[in-house]
Amino acid sequence: FFPRKLKWSHTNITYRILNYTPDLKKSEVDRAFRKAFKVWSDVTPLNFTRIRNGTADIMISFGRKEHGDFYPFDGPSGLLAHAFPPGPNFGGDAHFDEDELWSTDSKGYNLFLVAAHEFGHSLGLEHSRDPGALMFPIYTYTGNKGLLLPDDDVQGIQILYGAGDHDPHPDHPKTPEKCDANLTLDAITELRGEMVIFKDRFFWRLHPQMVEADLVQIKSFWPEIPSKIDAAYEHPTNDHVLLFRGKKVWALNAYDIVEGYPKKIYELGFPRSVKGVDAAVHIKDTGKTLFFAGEKYWSYDEQNQVMEKGYPRYIEEDFPGIGHRVDAAYEKNGYIYFFNGPLQFEFNIWSERIMRVLTTTSIFWC
């Protein structure tokens, strides 16, 4: 919050769009702002009404460099926009840097996402420390299939204005905490020497020389990839990371999706009855990739690009003690680390037995 928890004293709030960016059609700008206000009206009793003349509570404009409020913008990138907290005159007003390229997708800065953030300020929210929150001060593209307002933002705005009557999407995503004792993981892979650990719409980057893991939103790296991953592995010889979600698989080369992807998992040789993959791990010494789905697993020969004969086999038979299912897995120094709920199992590939049982969070040094 701003000092003294500044907020509007009324719930019917007006806004006026003073000018438009040439980057988008007027109708696209109107829609972006309307959607951005709806993000907040869905979770509060606030109503937003557009006016076309006179002074509105929230005056919206595009400008570049010094644009009339003595808080100049700085040219392309850097500062994208700013907004004043509730109050008279400039209070509530939102300004967008015309030197940015504004877009309705991920090609430029997504106007809807930036506007939703700025209107948070216009209503009385300051910046959040939660990297998953809309009010986190660094721009992150989160996809254009509508924004599910994160829980941190909902809690903030409802402290100021209370809850609304009809929240159409009551499941507000929480940002995972790496040292949560109940933490479970979606997928793990290596990526050019770093560990990439997927959980919901985020992944942690864990560099071998860093103790602290960085939390990043999947969409900010790969806008076209779904915001939840089932399984992942790195094929280091061709510098590809493969990500699985449902029946689809994507191959990534750094930020780019490899041509020809996404593919259906059946193209790898899975039977049609398999609806998705729970975990994948590439064994460097053998060149084989193991895929875990339900209680069974498959072995894929990367060199010949075929599923090996004799599979699927039961996980329990070949990896006794790790449980019937696997959430995520990775290989390191001859060990496979299997994650199952809040536990991880260190499995020696050659002696075929569990060496250690660890907590899932120990991957983060918790």
Binding site: L80, A81, A83, I138
Partner: protein, 88 residues
């Protein structure tokens, strides 16, 4: 520049340009005040405290020194919500 660059490794690693960017960033987002000429050592300490504040906010290692990680974050696109104290 009114920023602490007393350690040799710091001055080797960062150019004057990078320090200027850091100072602009802290002035804009952390209300770093410009100090009159002649008290640069004190100003340097202020930069250190603002750097600490910024590093703590973003969950970086709090060193009070400009390092690569902090500088990288300063370069990312962000929101510039005007400071309410000044507005009032």
């Amino acid at each position: 520049l009114p920023i602490s660059i007393s350690d040799e490794d710091d001055s080797d690693e960062f150019t004057r340009e990078k320090f200027e960017l850091a100072e602009r960033y802290l002035k804009r987002h952390y209300n770093l005040q410009s100090n009159p000429a002649g008290i640069q050592r004190k100003a340097g300490d202020t930069v250190t405290s603002k750097l600490r504040e910024m590093q703590a906010f973003f969950g970086l290692e709090v060193t009070g020194k400009l390092n690569e990680e902090t500088y990288e974050l300063m370069q990312q696109p962000r929101c510039g919500v005007p400071d309410i104290g000044e507005y009032n």
